[in-house]
């Protein structure tokens, strides 16, 4: 009971703005605390220390564990996708345990360069991130500019991600358990032609229109196809009428769906026990995660166990020691003869099993036999990492000395074996095919990290100084042993030791070391003006001894305008306003371990000499003496603005990043040199971009409880241009000065040729695939941009002939929108993510089907192809009803796709400007819009009222249902998952990589529907 009417009550609650209320004699006081949306006093983890967010002068974002915890993600990277502007996270496949590609601010260097990821101060990579239980994370900082990352020197030029795991923070014991179970199904599976008659006819037609004409089905085959098409109840396998010893097949299925499950399940359990007493802090956790893959007929899963133990002990008031140990074990199981591409490429006319139950004598039967009987592959990874750390506070906390030492041992044991399998050729003709072998592949990592640093902090009146200096060294060694032996004695013991055939064995050892001395000086005047210098003197084993060391400095400054007196009047509106600027020069050592050393590598001869395959060595490649760091200069300007008591927060950064002296294959030399050009520091790149985030938070009063609503929108962009490259002719098959990365050179479509006269008027012979297909009505027609009567693809930018830049494959304007609302115990979240601009030119079977080559599937969208004439009544009489119904017997001049010619879109000729022919040359008519918007997540949760749970000694109990990858808006969705092309980022114009990733050939992405609970005692 407060009796003094003058008394002032102060209401404080974590996460809310403290409020003072004069009691004024009232008996009851109702106070509504406003949520403190600013998080301004939040402490942000930076390199070798922490800073208050409000005092940051660099471009740093921080994500709280809450953003990850409320959503059932198996992999931290999945949860981070779309949460930070310009933190770009893509996956190359939807496979269980797939590792993310993580990038900050777009293209870094033509040699790549990923952000440095540190988990509790230990450099890690995206794979290790995959092994981290997301429940253990306390917070994540993303450092995007040079200022804050310079302290990490040569590996931090493309940003830093700092992850801090949880520690015991509450007095007593806190126990937390959470789990989820999810049901998964593939997002998009290509829409195949499954009608056997249509498929066979079109496949044959596609080769009839070429000089090779190599698919020629017999009349008997078509008769069977027609019968089966007209009446699908007829069996898909029968005794071959012309040879009773063999089976004959006529399938009518999309075999991709036969092998891939429509429903798979995943589960995750996490338990932690943490607490604090006066001298000890501890956090112990365990996590189990299992993700099942899509394969229907054999084991296909990923599971992970991880355990963490973190203790800290205060030896003396000024001295503490701690240990942080992590143990992870992951396991990936799948059949050894497992090819996603192979499964996508199956013919619908093939069949799975013979009437006697044996696997059929065709690709589907063989795939089935290989997956079930052909052996398995098991990848077991185990890692143990332990860190000892100590902290001494000296001179009344003015000086702090930290040291930590980490050792990590990773052991990867991969066991693979194959077995012969049985294929039924005919009713009494079952044969064994395939070879048996066992393979043991092991990889051992040893990694040590040592950090020591001294921090000085002192405030004198309005002056605040922080100085930090330290030393870091790391050594990494990896050893891979690969042993393989053929001819297993018994299928029950598929090991190398129990095989009798040829034994082959290789060993590869790699190591690298870095050393660095670093410092930071920070000065803040009157909480208004902030200046900071960071720097590092860094050495790497990856460069020759005279070019090994570099100094990487940065500087930054910030001005907190809102603290100025002249802003006083505006304070009700402008609650936070800061301007930031930074500049720094860092290194990039992302190159091979021994790139400057010329060596002979061992390899096995391809010829039997004296009865065995002898060992040989390769010819050493060319190396250059001019070989050192790439240098990355980054300038950043940013502002943070908080309005209306920080209800509305706005952050904007603009930057320019110049990567200088990129290691490139120098000048394009004539092929007579007989080797790849040596790599030299020969190229420069400029990357410019910006990012913004907009957050709004409010609560509405209702009769009883408030509704809290928040929204956060992120948008970012970046573009990269080559600013130096030795390419005097401006060749289009090489990087060149002024080239924007991702640009697509192609032809402008002018529809399809309709008449021979049109063909005669335009010479397109130079773009004919293999120089041998006939240009006939229905062939793609192009715009003759240079007006010389010929369609030609020039080889240089100055004389590109009919080529022009028709698009850009770099993702632009990536965005995320995170909407949250809560009312009483209910919470709802909807999260959208996407790319607003991107061009994608399709290649390969999954889009082009028969037009690629006649060896894999056809797709429903291709049915609208050019048909010069309708079929004669004799031919129509032979067709199945489905063929006639689909209009395929009629002419089609106004077609979306050209005349059906195999090899017309053949990617195997090569994909670069010099090699591509026909429809493998990008053109405007078939360019796809690669932009997408995806409803990434919807979660609805309910937390039981504390009044109920308290009775059960439960402090918090929340149930939720959640959906992942629920829906997407995208032009690509007709063909493949829109995210699958994100990894189609071959930037090198020289590359003529025909099976490059990202043409849709990926392990299917998954839609996940989960239920879960979070429980805290």
């Amino acid at each position: 009971m407060v009796s003094d009417p003058q008394a002032i009550l102060v209401f404080k609650y974590i996460g809310y703005i403290p409020q003072e209320v004069a009691v004024g004699g009232r008996k009851t006081v109702n106070v509504i605390l406003k949520a403190d949306q600013s998080d301004l006093n939040e402490v942000v983890v930076v390199g070798y220390g922490t800073q208050k967010k409000v005092n940051l002068s660099g471009a740093v974002d921080q994500i709280n564990a809450k953003a990850l915890a409320s959503r059932p993600v198996a992999n931290v990277a999945q949860g981070l996708q779309g949460l930070v502007p310009n933190l770009n996270i893509d996956f190359a496949s939807g496979a269980p345990g797939a590792t993310a590609k993580i990038n900050i601010r777009g293209i870094t260097s033509i040699n790549g360069g990923d952000p440095l990821i540190l988990i509790d101060n230990i450099p890690s990579n995206a794979t290790e991130l995959n092994r981290l239980a997301s429940q253990d994370i306390e917070n994540i900082s993303v450092i995007k500019d040079a200022s804050a990352s310079a302290i990490y020197g040569a590996r931090a030029s493309f940003g830093v991600i700092l992850i801090k795991t949880k520690s015991g923070s509450q007095d007593g014991v806190a126990v937390s358990y959470s789990n989820f179970l999810s049901m998964n199904k593939p997002t998009v599976i290509p829409d195949k032609i499954t009608d056997p008659y249509i498929y066979s006819r079109l496949l044959e037609l596609s080769t009839n229109n070429t000089p090779w004409d190599n698919v020629n089905y017999s009349d008997q085959f078509y008769q069977y196809a027609k019968e089966r098409s007209d009446d699908p109840t007829i069996p898909g396998v029968r005794i071959n009428p012309s040879d009773a010893k063999l089976w004959e097949y006529m399938g009518n299925s999309d075999w991709t769906r036969y092998f891939m499950n429509d429903q798979t399940y995943s589960q995750d359990h996490a338990l932690s026990v943490s607490g604090k007493s006066d001298k000890t802090q501890y956090y112990i956790s365990g996590n189990y995660n299992k993700q099942n893959g899509v394969l229907k007929i054999a084991d296909d899963y990923f599971d992970r166990y991880s355990f963490r133990s973190k203790v800290n002990y205060q030896v003396a008031p000024w001295l503490s020691f701690g240990n942080n140990t992590l143990l992870t074990a992951t396991r990936r199981e799948n059949p050894s003869q497992y090819s996603i591409t192979g499964i996508y490429n199956l013919f619908p006319t093939d069949f799975d099993k013979n009437p006697d139950g044996t696997w059929a004598n065709n690709s589907v039967g063989r795939t089935g036999a290989q997956l079930t009987e052909g052996g398995t592959a098991s990848d077991k990874f185990f890692s143990l990492q332990t860190q000892f750390n100590g902290e001494a506070s000296l001179f009344k906390n003015m000086l702090k000395l930290n040291a930590d030492f980490t050792y990590r041992r990773g052991a990867d044991n991969y066991d693979e074996y194959t077995l012969p399998y049985k294929i039924g050729f005919g009713p009494s003709d079952v044969r064994e095919e395939g070879n048996s072998y066992a393979r043991k592949w092991t990889s051992f990592d040893d990694y040590t990290v040592l950090n020591t640093y001294l921090t000085f902090n002192e405030s004198l009146g309005k002056h605040n100084f922080t100085a930090l200096a330290g030393y870091n060294q790391e050594y990494f060694r990896n050893e891979v042993n690969d042993t393989r032996r053929t001819n297993l004695i018994s299928a029950s013991y598929p090991t190398v030791g129990l095989a009798t055939g040829e034994l082959s064995s290789t060993q590869v050892i790699n190591d690298w070391a870095v050393q660095g001395l670093f410092f930071r000086l920070n000065y803040i005047f009157n909480d208004k003006y902030i200046v900071e210098f960071n720097g590092r003197y860094d050495g790497s084993s990856r460069f020759p001894s005279d070019k090994r060391w570099g100094f990487f400095p940065s500087a930054s400054a910030a001005w907190r305008i809102d603290q100025e007196a002249f802003m006083d009047g505006l304070r009700p509106v402008v609650s936070n306003f800061k301007l930031r600027a930074s500049y720094g020069s860092l290194g990039n050592q992302s190159t091979s371990n021994y790139g400057y050393i010329s060596t002979f590598s061992p390899s096995r001869s391809g010829y039997l000499i004296g009865g065995s395959l002898p060992l040989t060595v390769t010819t050493p490649g060319l190396v250059s003496a001019d070989y050192t760091w790439e240098k990355v200069n980054t300038a950043n300007l940013g502002t943070d603005l908080g309005l209306f008591n920080n209800k509305l927060n706005f952050t904007f950064d603009i930057y320019e990043r110049n990567t200088k002296g990129m290691l490139a294959n120098g000048r394009d030399l004539p092929d007579v040199i007989g080797a790849t050009e040596p790599r030299e520091n020969a190229a420069d790149l400029r990357n410019r971009g910006w990012e913004l985030s907009l957050a709004y938070q409010t609560s509405f009063k209702t009769a009883k409880d408030p509704i809290n609503v928040s929204a956060r929108f992120l948008l970012s962009d970046s573009r990269s241009v080559i600013t130096r490259f030795e390419n005097p002719n401006n060749s289009l098959t090489q990087y060149r000065k002024g080239m924007e990365l991702g640009e697509i050179w192609g032809l402008h479509s002018n529809g399809l040729f309709q008449t021979q006269a049109e063909i005669n008027a335009l010479d397109q012979t130079s773009i004919v695939p293999w120089g041998a297909l006939s240009i006939v009505p229905g062939w793609p027609k192009y715009i003759d941009r240079d007006g010389n009567g010929k369609i030609e693809t020039g080889l240089t930018a100055d004389n590109a002939q009919d080529l022009a830049i028709i698009g850009n494959s770099s993702p632009r304007f990536r965005f995320g929108l995170d909407l949250n609302a809560s009312w009483k115990g209910f919470d709802v979240r909807a999260f959208f993510q996407g790319v607003a601009k991107r061009d994608y030119y399709p290649l390969d079977y999954l889009y082009w089907g028969f037009y690629q080559q006649p060896y894999a599937g056809g797709y429903a969208h291709l049915l609208d192809f050019y048909r010069p004439n309708g079929d004669s009544p004799t031919d129509i009489a032979k067709h199945s009803q489905s063929y006639i119904n689909a209009g395929l017997a009629n002419s089609n001049h106004d077609a979306r796709y050209p005349i059906l010619q195999s090899w017309l879109a053949d990617v195997n000729l090569g994909t670069n400007v010099r090699d591509a022919k026909g429809l493998a040359i990008p053109q405007t008519g078939y360019m796809l819009n690669g932009a997408y918007l995806r409803l990434k997540n919807v979660t609805i949760g309910y937390t039981l009222p504390a009044s109920i749970t308290k009775k059960w000694h439960i402090s918090n109990l929340r149930f939720y249902v959640s959906g992942e990858n629920i829906y997407e808006w995208s032009a690509l969705k007709k063909f493949y998952d829109p995210e699958s092309v994100n990894v189609n980022d071959v930037l090198n114009p020289q590359a003529t990589n025909t099976n490059r990733p990202g043409n849709g050939y990926a392990y299917p992405w998954q839609r996940r529907f989960s239920v879960g609970l979070n429980l805290n005692f």
């Binding site: 040829e502 690298w512 070391a513 061992p602 060595v617 012979t765």
Partner: protein, 599 residues
């Protein structure tokens, strides 16, 4: 006490940091590959490196006549692309690869670091120069004039990088120097599968014959006068191998089987005819044998080749009245026994049904569009076991070829005698029970028409030696090179044809007089209930027609005539198509590389 503690810890941490600051901490050398300073020290090193340069064909040779007059193919083939398309330096771009040359020259630049005796060093130099000769042989075949390099090129050697083409005569002189050195210094004996002196000589003679005949028949080179020196070399080197006595033709005295067996051996090691084979062992080095040899995949043997086989009595097949319209069964009657050891003959029993054709057992030639209807059994493992297929060895250099080289070079030099024939061609004929060839045979008008360019005193013998070469080496990948060196590219223009059918209706293909197949017209449809032949087997139905019709087999006249395989063979432009252009992109990098012969 506290203070001391602080002091100790501070110092300890500082020392830990500094002690690690040694300079060698950052010195990391590869441990599983060998630095360039530590190699070429002993003979083992030289051997490791040289073995990498081995480069010989495999079972692919049995498909390699595709696109010549020996066999049509539906596959993508450069020469076909050139003849039917519009070839240019921007779309004919293969073959300009120089990595192997650098590997050889790298060895030659460095191997003498090893302190070994001259015999050892010369042996390895010989091997390296043999591989360099092999490399340039392939370059000369495609490009004629090519820049010659006998050392590795550095990135700054602009005079070498931007060098123009060297004339063929210079390059060939260098090739011959390399061969001569190798033939002098490579050791006489080696493990099976490894290069020995006889192998070097065989390749030397092979190329000498190639170059000698090429220069004689290709007037565009203006080198005809230099032809004899190469022909003499071919003669002398092949004679050396013959008189060396190490090799002889493989024969067990069974003329109807020996020739066929040579190509389906699980182990050719020790076979007296084999100078060089590519050895295979299932599971260690699989032969890569594929079912495409027999079946209707891409390649099938042509009728033109079949007609070149002599009659068993040595007379010309073409001397038989009406031979152009002989049905399939009759084509095999009384022929050179090699025909039925190369082509699937009437009555052939198919055991390995894992092919691109249907039907096992007594084989009924399966017809298909674009295929000749004939089937190849040379190099075909007629055994369904995977292990048998994967273990089969591939003969790369046979003694028979040496004999053919000897005879041809002699004849081209105009000095062939009956005794020469008896030591060479007639040994080959004798193995298969064919009568001996005489020094002055009667001229076969068919053969005469094929090679109008052959002149000189021994013209008739040359024509017959060319026939013998075609028959003996049929479908082993020799035909294309032979046509090129004989300046006979026009032969590629003739459409390759297949089996002759007198008309629609029933035909016997197994030789028992009972019909096996029935040809219907393009407008008829195949009945559901098939007619049976007198043996009680269903007749196999095909609808016949012409190109563009929806039928099972194309016949010349739609309902009769020879089986047709290609709509058009295109035009062989002479002399242009005997050569290939330097890829356009390379000309751009080195403008001193000029195109020749109309490219």
């Amino acid at each position: 006490m506290k203070k001391i503690n602080k002091y100790i810890i501070g110092v300890a941490l500082a020392t830990l940091g500094l002690s690690a600051c040694k300079t060698d901490f950052l010195d990391r050398q590869p441990q599983t590959s060998i630095g360039t300073d530590n190699f070429f020290n002993n003979e083992q090193d030289l051997k490791l490196y040289i073995t990498r340069l081995y480069n010989f064909p495999g079972t692919g040779i049995y498909n390699a006549d595709g696109g010549t007059d020996n066999s049509p193919t539906t596959g993508v083939l450069e020469i076909k692309t050139m003849m039917v398309g519009l070839p240019s330096a921007s779309n004919i771009t293969t073959g300009w690869n120089w990595d192997r040359l650098r590997s050889v020259n790298y060895f030659l630049d460095n191997f003498r670091k090893a302190s070994l005796g001259p015999e050892v060093l010369n042996h390895y130099e010989g091997l390296a120069r043999f591989f360099r000769a092999q490399f340039y042989v392939e370059k000369v075949k495609r490009f004629s004039d090519v820049p010659f390099y006998d050392k590795t090129i550095g990135t700054n050697d602009n005079d070498l990088l931007l060098k123009p083409r060297d004339p063929r005569s210079l390059v060939v002189t260098k090739i011959m120097e390399d061969f001569a050195f190798a033939a002098q210094n490579v050791r006489e004996t080696a493990e099976s599968g490894a290069i020995n002196r006889a192998i070097v000589k065989a390749y030397q003679a092979k190329f000498a014959l190639y170059e000698g005949t090429y220069r004689r028949y290709h007037s565009e080179l203006e080198l005809a006068s230099t032809a004899p020196q190469f022909l003499q070399l071919a003669r002398d080197v092949s004679r050396e191998i013959m008189t060396g006595g190490k090799y002889r033709l493989y024969s067990t005295g069974n003329p109807n089987q020996d020739y066929l067996n040579l190509f389906i051996q699980p182990n050719l090691s020790g076979n007296p005819e084999i100078l060089l084979a590519v050895y295979n062992e299932s599971g260690i080095r699989n032969s890569g044998w594929s079912e495409t040899v027999f079946g209707n995949f891409e390649v099938s043997p042509a009728r033109d080749l079949l007609q070149d086989y002599l009659m068993k009595d040595g007379s010309y097949y073409s001397s038989q009245a009406g031979y152009e319209t002989f049905p399939f069964v009759k084509e095999f009657e009384n022929r050179d026994p090699r025909l039925s050891q190369t082509y699937a003959y009437p009555g052939f029993n198919l055991l390995n049904v894992r092919t691109y054709s249907q039907n096992g057992g007594l084989y009924v030639q399966q017809l298909a569009k674009n295929q000749s209807g004939y089937h190849q059994i040379k190099g075909f493992v007629n055994d369904p076991s995977t292990a048998a297929m994967q273990t089969v060895d591939v003969p790369i250099l046979r003694y028979a070829e040496i004999l053919l080289t000897f005879a041809e070079s002699k004849a081209e030099l105009g000095e062939l005698t009956q005794s020469d024939l008896d030591q060479s061609i007639n040994l080959i004929r004798n193995r298969v029970g064919m009568p001996a060839m005489l020094i002055s045979p009667m001229i076969d008008p068919v053969q005469n028409e094929k090679f109008p360019g052959v002149s000189g005193a021994q013209r008739a013998a040359i024509l017959e030696i060319r026939r013998e070469r075609r028959i003996e080496l049929a479908l082993e990948g020799y035909r294309f090179d032979d046509i090129m060196r004989w300046n006979a590219g026009k032969l590629l223009e003739k459409p390759q044809e297949g089996i002759y059918f007198s008309g629609l209706g029933k035909h016997d293909l197994t030789g028992d007089g009972v019909p096996d197949i029935i040809l219907l017209s393009s407008s008829e449809s195949i009945p559901v209930v098939k007619e049976k032949n007198t043996l009680g087997k269903d007749l196999i139905y095909y609808r016949a027609g012409t190109f563009g019709q929806d039928v099972g087999v194309f016949l010349k006249n739609g309902n009769s005539g020879t089986v047709q395989t290609t709509v058009q063979n295109g035009k062989f432009m002479e002399p242009k198509f005997y050569y290939r252009p330097v890829p356009q992109a390379q000309v751009q990098l080195n403008p001193n590389l000029k195109q020749i012969f109309g490219w």
